[in-house]
Symmetry: C2
Subunit: 147 residues, 2 copies
């Protein structure tokens, strides 16, 4: 288990690979975001399946859980400070992501809790940038956890 102290500023983690399929894109779209199925949706030229932006966030969370969240003393995230969808994610893309710790501080009001500000970026196998996202994540401190 890793704690706040294990993620100093500058720490960079790499996760993936996430293979995007037409089946998964369609399933998500039908359930949550049918707008990507409308002919003429940006990136869907020639009938290509394009993933919902929120689906790409879900794929990001899958990679983050596997590589980071489930192995750390995470206490959740209050929200997202910035999120940009930079280019379409389509069937056949294999996504990888990089997460960097930009800031880190101990909570002033809640002892035993630290916060890290993370910058996540997702690229496909050709290196094209798909998404950037920044947010604060709460982690238990090692000393707080030992107390």
């Amino acid at each position: 288990m890793r704690y706040f102290e294990d993620f100093p500023v500058g720490t960079t983690m790499r996760f993936g690979a996430y293979e995007v399929t037409a089946e998964e894109i369609t399933e998500y779209a039908n359930q949550y975001d049918p707008s990507v199925l409308v002919p003429g949706y940006p990136g869907g030229e020639g009938g290509k399946a394009v993933a919902s932006g929120w689906h790409v966030c879900a794929m990001m969370m899958h990679m983050l859980c596997e590589g980071f969240v489930l192995k750390s003393a995470g206490l959740g995230a209050p929200g997202i400070d910035k999120l940009k969808w930079l280019s379409p994610v389509c069937a056949g893309h294999v996504l990888g992501m990089e997460t960097e710790v930009m800031k880190a501080r101990r909570s002033a009001s809640r002892p035993g809790i630290g916060l890290v500000y993370l910058r996540h970026s997702i690229r496909d196998q050709s290196g094209e940038m798909k998404l950037v996202c920044e947010n604060w994540v709460m982690l238990a401190t090692r000393e707080g956890s030992a107390a």
Copy 2:
């Protein structure tokens, strides 16, 4: 079909209701965000199923598609400017949302396109605020569409 001109500043739309079930929470969590299944996840006291924050965004998109996106000349959204998860969304909650147009402007560089800055808020049936989210959305203008 509704265009940029149909969403002046101050326009308020209401969407819903979205009934949250334990089955759907678990299905999403298993596929994308198993962190909500870890015992002790905030809001999950007593074994209650808590939805992933990204799942709540997916539910929001579902409501937005039904009430707004699929009925408008939407051209997508470049990203999210602010997103806050304010309290846990659990099985049994019935979500409704309100979307308000905070700003509206025509694109300076791309004729025929307008941008609206939206503030989305989601509450459960008791009125408890669950999520707020703000972002720019692109819409075709009526005049651009007629051209």
